[in-house]
Assembly symmetry: C2
Homo-oligomer: 210 residues x 2
Amino acid sequence: MAIISKATIERLSIYCMYLKRLLNRNGSNRHISSYELGREVGASAAQVRKDLSYFGNFGCKGVGYDIENLEKKLEEIIGFTKKWEIALVGAGNLGTALVNYKNFRDLGLNIDAVFDCDLAKIGNTIGGIMVRSVKDMEQVIREKNIKVGIIAVPADDAQEIAEKLVAAGVRAIWNFAPVSLKLPDDIILSSEYLLPGLASLVFCLNNKIN
Amino acid sequence: MAIISKATIERLSIYCMYLKRLLNRNGSNRHISSYELGREVGASAAQVRKDLSYFGNFGCKGVGYDIENLEKKLEEIIGFTKKWEIALVGAGNLGTALVNYKNFRDLGLNIDAVFDCDLAKIGNTIGGIMVRSVKDMEQVIREKNIKVGIIAVPADDAQEIAEKLVAAGVRAIWNFAPVSLKLPDDIILSSEYLLPGLASLVFCLNNKIN
């Protein structure tokens, strides 16, 4: 396989999300062109074709892509068709929003376990999942063979939580705490600082760039 | 000014966030090298130097960057030093998390008005701000001269809310609803679908790429 950039995978996931929405809407169109698909996600038709070309030939000239087929293929390519056990640490507002986020649920990406250290939250249910104590975290992660961890705790706690997740067997961490984590090289780490999104808006507004 | 990519601005905001944290920590180091700065945010020293070179010459060979000075310069470059009036629509878990997000508050990016259509939420206070009815949204936005809108409402409501924001004078929209918005070309739009972050983790895990 050619080296696929993170940006390509990120775009594929947005194509996938959009196609899933089209399918759920039950529209009459069975096909979509690379132009239409790109327009919906802010990419050019050429970009869509290039992104897909790494993985095969999915379209049909003059007809476009079969929406249902392409959506399934994208799920397979990204790895969404496999069942991933996901743990979330931090049952605050952000954690609760993530558990309930429609984009994940629609694609079968469910959070399987939620942990917090706040006694007022432990035992509560968010999105149908009972919040457990972080004291039980390592045991539950081992038992459930959880490989993906999401960190939605305050910045000061994030490094310690990340180390505990890794010690328990987590291989990939999605970090929402505004702090850079130091983890072993074989751990897949992606940080979501949110600030960059707001920064690019403010920069454009400040420089009157649309 | 050279054409600055969105990715550059996004990285500048992460450098800025990291430098702000160093300053708040009150450490003894007054300088930082491009290598150290890059390491903290997952960029190479060369990338850091390139990103900064668009805007001037901030470092000193062998000494590095003055942390306080560079942080201030980055705030100016991005536009964080100006006061931006920001409105948030949707006072659910995600909206509440955004109002309280430490990364924004540390940089003086405060949300000034919050709206929701849920009678159970209107009148409540989140992060010190009273939630108002969306019925009052257009009037408040005009009065406060709000130019930035954040959408954290369900997908089905997002387009209508976006149009109302634009009609009231908002020029830049940060959209968290999992739907692509159709807005006039002169409106700055950035969508935060969150799915891409999880997708790139899952893809790496599925293909055993670190």
